[in-house]
Symmetry: C2
Subunit: 302 residues, 2 copies
């Protein structure tokens, strides 16, 4: 699992910082999460192939989280994309995008599917054989969702030495990886744990931006490996955090502690702070494993 931060600053794009967007690579899928203005240039800068993005998740309809979407959709069109593109986001996103395409008399040569979200309880919005994505309903000034990306438990890993020792034919390998025991020609039963190792433990990534401190998300993100949680402000500006329905670094750390998260990543910093290390310092008074997101930074989780 690899996370690349394209932008992680709040509010307006600036010469040196970008609004929210990130790419999650998980089990060979590539998911784009939020798409602030300038995201397509950030994708180019970070050498992420446009063609690999087939699913885009938009948390909410504030500009710093989606104003780059219509441009990216248009660029896909100009690049003659043929593959389906799926957009998951709040109701209204379809109307906004299609209105702009209509006035520009543009038609995508690829299928554009909108999955508009309205639920206020967590729901599964994407699932395939390897990955599942659920919403994390957040509390912000407008309808907002975070997203929980979970790997599914994979096949058990074949113990190659063991299967060769018992001269098991390859046609049985998938059954073995699925957890089945094997009966040899002489009637001996070889238990599955002799022939396999445990599968790679599935990982999960929770993306929560933007939100005020909200303990109702804890059961949804409980035990996640990685939590990206917004922290627009420090505790010194807790009044501003409350007024604008954002979180402080301390509050993000409290959520991470209570949800038994392994690794917390902070982001969505207000541009009023010139030193983002202060966010880490504040969070670490509560929770030890803190990383700071920054534009262009990648995190690999093995």
């Amino acid at each position: 699992m690899k996370l690349t931060i394209l932008g992680c600053y709040a509010a307006t794009p600036r010469t040196i910082t970008n609004p929210t967007s990130q790419v999650l690579e998980i089990r060979n899928r590539m998911f784009l999460i939020d798409c602030g203005e300038g995201t397509q240039v950030q994708l180019r800068k970070n050498k992420i192939k446009f063609s690999k993005i087939n699913h885009i998740f938009i948390s909410h309809l504030h500009g710093d989280h989606f104003y780059g979407l219509v441009g990216l959709i248009s660029t896909f069109m100009l690049l003659n994309r043929q593959t389906d593109l799926h957009i998951y986001g709040p109701k209204g996103i379809k109307e906004i995008i299609l209105l702009q395409l209509r006035f520009s008399n543009s038609f995508t040569g690829y299928n554009l599917y909108f999955h508009e979200l309205t639920a206020t309880e967590s729901e599964i919005i994407y699932e395939d054989e390897k990955v599942i994505v659920k919403t994390i309903p957040l509390k912000h000034r407008i309808y907002t969702n975070g997203f929980l990306f979970q790997e599914k438990i994979g096949d058990r890993k074949l113990n190659v030495q063991a299967v060769e020792k018992y001269e098991i034919e390859t046609c049985y390998y998938q059954n073995i990886k699925n957890g089945k025991d094997i009966t040899l020609d002489n009637g001996t039963i070889i238990p599955n744990e002799t022939l396999t190792f445990d599968p790679i433990p599935p990982k999960s990534y929770a993306f929560c931006s933007d939100t005020m401190y909200d303990e109702t998300i804890i059961p949804i993100i409980q035990n996640a490996d990685i939590l990206y949680h917004e922290t627009t402000f420090l505790e010194t500006e807790a009044d501003k955090a409350e007024k604008t329905m954002h979180s402080t670094a301390k509050e993000a750390a409290q959520i991470a502690t209570k949800a038994n998260i392994k690794q917390l990543i902070l982001g969505h910093y207000s541009t009023r702070y010139s030193n983002i290390e202060l966010f880490k310092d504040e969070a670490q008074t509560i929770f030890p494993n803190v990383l700071l997101a920054d534009d262009g930074k990648s995190f690999e989780f093995d």
Copy 2:
């Protein structure tokens, strides 16, 4: 008069090039012309004060000319702008912007005036005591206007030595600058041309992007000092220019010649060309005074 190019490349924003946007400073007014994605960052890079922009002219509703507008309007809001903002652009622009503000539950603290354009003949869309702006109806795939910015003829310039010689009181100066003769106490009439110099000749700037070759614009832009004319393609790709309703460098030069333009500026290059000097070379086979626009480049016209 000063022109600053924020972006002058066609189609998609890239790491090193930006879609169309430029700032025209004329008689102490600052007009923003087109507003592709990333324009607000380009304004910052070029150190242009956001607060000086009160009028934005949008040629047409293709993304590379206006996808940065909603973000700029939102940033003005976040910066607590109070001054009126006027947007001139094709019908539909108001619906697109207001829909996005509505879904983000945002309200500008300043007055936002939309001047939606539908006319197919040139019309005056802005006028004050020093400047007049007219549309230049263009031929493109969707409804498109260029804009002609004209300085008005200013007051005659006072000949300070002359008015002091005749001991004329300062309360008569404005009358003199308005062209009036002066009668001295002894009855002598001093003709105005003795007391003044000719006013600074008014300048005009014609912005034409995007358009196919179209001679119907010639009477509108006739004798303009500066013409910015798109040239998406070179003659080697004339078929593509025709198909997409764009112009070649040669065609831009032909328009400049026939309209008796003093200075031609080329821009809106297709990103397929790595060497934009080729556009200048091609245009100069027809018209000598050619400058190449490029992102971040400024032109001063005295």
